[in-house]
Symmetry: C2
Subunit: 266 residues, 2 copies
């Protein structure tokens, strides 16, 4: 069976408080897609963070001593570094232009996934709550969702209730790799989609053990979805997937994270 990934066109700019299930259902209709059993929806982290109001105003951030030190080593804005440190459990590597951390959610990534590229410039972005006026001095950065597994699960429940079919939902971001250039899509939160597919003990067509035994299925799908979001990610932050080759089941990000004691490269 073929795997088909369709980027949904026509998703509007997302603002704090927007109901993503309504946005997605409207977009599916506009794209002539009727949800079927086993379909998966893949969301760019950015729209989930925006809907959840995960903005921080750098103008109100006071960098700590350690953030100032890291800012010196990395050449990054000390206030941005302070936000990165708050979102992290541990700083693994620092060099000019780069800070690699273990994010509080458990995965290793650059800059704790904090997006400084355009959140501050977006005229349509609301301030987080009503406390901070959206003045010219405000400089917003966008953090990852508070609990992406929970966000994915809530959205999945809602879409399943309305559609009446069994679905999966994944929230993805783009990560660099230690030894290869270019970013690839990876899962940061999921519901219904198996993070890993364990084939240990299974055999091939001829009865012999398989070479590959534990497949990072959700990350493979995240990479595929990221590819079709691609350049136009601002316009197509939701991808509809049909033909995922494994049964859907309960899952969470934690099953995909290598335990620290098995880490050879920290």
């Amino acid at each position: 069976m073929a795997l088909t990934l369709t980027p949904l066109v026509g998703i509007p700019m997302i603002h704090e408080g927007d109901d993503l299930s309504k946005v997605i259902l409207a977009a599916l209709q506009a794209n002539d897609i009727t949800l079927q059993d086993g379909d998966i929806l893949v969301l760019a982290q950015k729209i989930v963070s925006k809907a959840e109001g995960r903005l921080e105003n750098l103008a109100e951030v006071s960098p700590s001593e350690s953030a100032l030190e890291l800012a010196e080593k990395s050449g990054k804005d000390p206030r941005l570094v302070e936000v990165i440190v708050r979102e992290s459990r541990e700083v693994l590597r620092v060099k000019p232009g780069t800070i690699i951390v273990e994010h509080r959610l458990g995965f290793v990534c650059a800059s704790a996934g904090v997006d400084h590229s355009n959140a501050s410039l977006d005229p349509q972005l609301p301030p987080p709550g009503s406390m901070a006026p959206n003045t010219e001095d405000a400089e917003w950065v966008l953090l990852l969702p508070e609990d992406p597994d929970a966000s994915a699960q809530a959205l999945c429940n809602c879409l399943e209730t309305i559609s009446g079919v069994k679905l999966g939902v994944m929230i993805i971001d783009s990560h660099g790799r230690a030894w290869r250039l270019g970013t690839v899509g990876v899962v940061i939160g999921l519901a219904g989609v198996p993070g890993l597919v364990d084939l240990r003990g299974q055999v091939d067509l001829f009865g012999y053990p398989l070479k590959i035994t534990v497949i990072g299925a959700a990350d493979e799908l995240a990479a595929a979805a990221s590819l079709v979001m691609g350049q136009a990610a601002e316009g197509t932050p939701v991808v509809h997937v049909r033909g995922f080759p494994y049964p859907l089941r309960q899952s969470s990000l934690s099953e995909m994270l290598r335990p620290r004691q098995e880490d050879l490269f920290r």
Copy 2:
């Protein structure tokens, strides 16, 4: 536009000397697919290695001193370790059950991609050349193709000539990751498909700089193709791709490898 990945059913067992272009063209016909401009064919490493006769008989391998030492540390067969070392530029990490190397082709992976799972047991596998009799004592392992970029390019040229359309070809393997569990498909040789898509300097729909600037497009596609090969990889080692969202162009594996001097995790 949707991205569609179709695993070709009915690919036969591949033997040394088989012409993969003929095998693929027959399979495309059997799967009712007519090649179009911009289509990509993704091949599992295994069938390319088999067609090229990249087999080594462990019964004829004498482990060196350093292989014996690594075998002791890793708990692996010293003759297998000798083959792994010969296929590698550098050993990066060793622990029981695991040897991480820089492959002679330049990427970092486990066991130099040497497949010991079932090559030795496959009754249909021919011995490499006619020198070694396929006796019960023979214990074959399968190495990666000698020059996967060249293999991909030759196949691409051949398929383009016959079909008359512009195509891409990728050869993929499955690699583990430093910090995440489960393997994902990655490119080890390619022709026509951009390894990286560089969006630096480009802006989003609203005129602001993009968060992600260099996309590992070929690896994202490799992961997607690997997902649909999946469990049945022995039966569906070729995936047809339509809808790749970037223009095809000349490429090679080298553009995707992080230069050693930029490596923070060696």
